[in-house]
Symmetry: C2
DNA sequence: TTTTTACCAAACCATATGGTTGACTATATA
DNA sequence: TATATAGTCAACCATATGGTTTGGTAAAAA
């Protein structure tokens, strides 16, 4: 799978987007991440592994806890892609929307 | 699945991103869409159905051909989300990147 | 030292995904 | 009319995904 494939696939799961969002507020332990979800810690651990494999976050073992934080570099790549994407599409969408809705200008 | 789930899932397949890209250049018949790919027309037809079910494109039957075009409204929704997303994250990413790389500023 | 905590690993399960083939329908074209 | 073309549908297959449970290990706390 390409990088873009995995990034989008990762973002297509609501649990992972939530983990993503949580980590924006800062580092968290695996059990902290798992707590809000109505599923086993093992399941959350798998999601974290998916994100980690995609390079979207980093894991650090400290004693018996595992600490997760966003990987700024990988995030930057994703952000850059979105920037490019978003820079290109909107006019197209808007043009198309104007055309379709017949609103002219 | 939520709307966001399906949109990201749709974008996570390279074939569908290519179809997506092709349709940005304008309407196309199903067989036109299928031609560049080393897979059966049935497979491409399935991808098109996935995109259609997600509301990302529209199908129109004209005689024996099926014409596809982007759905401007659904596209606008996706674009809006990306805009919000991208408006929110970059500073965060940049802050995080600065912090991690220790570049101060 | 014993017990609890935090996590991993393996096996398993149901469903989704991305592809195939073959048979079919409907429309153009010769 | 006969044939080729565009596309669908249904059945099938292999693999991926998202979850579970059970049993383990290592570290912290009692």
């Amino acid at each position: 799978m390409s990088n873009l494939d995995t990034t989008f696939a990762d973002l297509s799961d609501v649990t992972r987007r939530a983990i993503f969002g949580r980590l924006m507020q800062g580092e968290a332990r695996l059990s902290d991440l798992a707590a809000p979800f109505d599923m086993s810690q093992t399941a959350v651990s798998k999601h974290v592994r998916v994100l980690s494999d995609a390079g979207l976050l980093e894991l650090e073992k400290r004693g018996r806890t595992r600490h997760c934080r966003l990987n700024a570099h990988a995030m930057k790549d994703a952000s850059d892609w979105l920037t490019d994407y978003q820079g290109f599409w909107p006019q197209q969408f808007n043009n198309l929307a104007r055309h379709v809705s017949g609103q002219g200008e």
